[in-house]
Amino acid sequence: MTTTAGTRPTRAAHAASKRRFRAEALWGYAFIAPTGLGLAIFYLWPVVQTTYFSFTEWGAFGGHTWTGLDNYTRLIGDPEVGRALVNTLTYTVLGLVGIPLAIVFAALLNRPGLRGVSAYRTAFFLPVVTMPVAVAMLWRWLYNGDYGLVNQVLSVVGIDGPNWIADPATAMYALVVVGIWSSIGYNLIIFLAGMQAIPKELYEAASMDGAGSVRQFFRITLPMLSPTAFFISIVSVIGSLQLFDLVFVMTGSGQSARANPAYARLQTVVQLFYERAFVTNDRGYAAAIVIALLVLIAALTVLQFRLQRRWVHYV
């Protein structure tokens, strides 16, 4: 913030700026009030409630008795929680590959004068409106151990492919591919929007200086896109840590999911939460699991925010 050189603020000017500051502060609160109130009632209150219940034994239909830290000590010693955490973190780390992929596609789909760009963009958008059952059916067909397309292609080069979704060694990787595939559409929308906000003048100036499109991408697009990329990375990591629907849809639910020999490598933390809360009626323990996950997500998010100074470039 630059002040005009030389003059010292007078008392009157001071009072005026204080009034301005208070007015601005009041406007600030007013602007955040609607969302804040809505979030508080419908979202924060349930979190507070659930945190309370995580210290209790919570009955299937209500009713609870205080048990203190029992649920948390139990969860630390529970091997199933540990495994679910490893699975979830594996998925999260591998899923980060989807972000640079989405940026590359966004850049390609943003090239000026590209013919058929509407058609391409619509194609990239379609996974997002495809019914999850259809997505699962197709991918399960591709991954099928006996007649799946992937294994048929592999057999041409003499490799006998595994049962991708049923083999503990490959199941999570197969799932990550589907996860990345389904996330590209969403991320693309946001990156395309972010690219619109980059002033054309920068590209024009660079072209006149003789920079090619690749160089422009690395020198202009990426840095200018970094606030958006930061947003996507936060949201992607949070989404990956909360993974539930994808596994549910790909491996079936309930008993058919658990009968999968690869289940121990596929079960995510939220899936474990769902099973404890709604299937085995262990609701206090489930509350502890989800609150512990929330703390972990918060920690990782804070870490990412701290790191943003290093690579995110705000105008």
């Binding site: 602007f31 590209l114 194609a123 409106v129 929007a193 003048e201 606030p227």
Partner: protein
């Protein structure tokens, strides 16, 4: 402008587009099959041309009611979020007030909560408000979004301050700056939020299913889910229904994504 190898670009895009489109194409093919053929292994690639599956969707669901519910709910959520989230995002990005960072952190923490946690508590809130089995039960919680606030805040942060400061020096207050300057400049972000909110609202299955009981009050996704029997599901009809339901969203996207082609140069001067 370097357009040295458009063919390379097209090749990559065509290949990737095929990968993206495949399940959607599969959905279309399956919707035209008989049930026996849809579940056969190995799957057959050619459908039997059962266009009557599409007609059956309208017999099985109160389609018009559910479509209207979905449109109203989605429109409500989009309008609400675009308005409320942009207000909060602007405040967090550009206004100064005590506790701003802390409050933003609290907003963000909502995003970190796994959504499955909310089902039962929100159901109880709806029950105590007397809103079970109603439209407002599916609209109101969706008016508020931490995701939207975060997304738009990033957009607002990326906008240059010069225009704003010029307006401020001209005596404009926060409301005017927000409405006449920041919002138009953040249009790509608003459009992105609109599309995503529309998508999530349109596909929202679990919440409308749990909180509403009359098929006439349900959304399309929830109505389609109810087509699944305990032991048998008519997949072709289900997929036909889902395709019909997704047409409006695809149409909106095709229309709106042109917004992404017109860039907005915002160095402050026009022309």
């Amino acid at each position: 402008m370097s357009e040295r190898r458009p063919i390379g670009v097209h090749a990559v895009l065509i290949a990737s587009s095929l990968a993206m489109v495949a399940p959607f194409a599969w959905q279309i093919v399956t919707s035209l099959k008989t049930l026996s053929s849809a579940t056969r292994v190995p799957p057959s690639l050619l459908p039997e041309g059962r266009w009557d599956n599409y007609a059956k969707v309208f017999d099985l669901l109160p389609f018009a009611d559910q479509f209207l519910n979905t449109v109203v709910m989605a429109a409500g959520r989009v309008a609400g979020q675009v308005l409320f989230c942009s207000m909060a995002a602007y405040a967090f990005a550009r206004l100064r007030f005590p506790g701003r960072n802390l409050l933003f952190g609290v907003f963000l923490s909502v995003l970190m909560v796994p959504p499955q946690l909310f089902v039962i508590p929100q159901y109880q809130i709806m029950s105590s408000l007397g809103w079970l089995n109603s439209l407002q039960a599916i609209i109101v919680p969706g008016l508020f979004s931490a995701f939207g606030v975060f997304l738009l805040r990033q957009f607002f942060l990326g906008l240059p301050r010069e225009i704003e400061e010029a307006a401020r020096l001209d005596g404009a207050g926060p409301v005017r700056i927000y409405w006449s300057i920041m919002m138009p400049l953040a249009r790509p972000g608003l459009v992105a939020l609109g599309i995503l909110t529309l998508l999530w609202a349109w596909n929202d299955l679990f919440w409308p299913l749990v909180v509403n009981t009359d098929p006439e009050k349900m959304t399309l996704s929830a109505g389609l889910a109810a087509l699944q029997g305990q032991y048998q599901t008519d997949y072709p009809i289900l997929m036909a229904g889902s395709l019909i339901a997704s047409l409006p969203v695809i149409a909106v996207f095709v229309f709106l994504q042109r917004q992404f082609i017109q860039g907005i140069a915002h160095t402050g001067t026009k022309g």
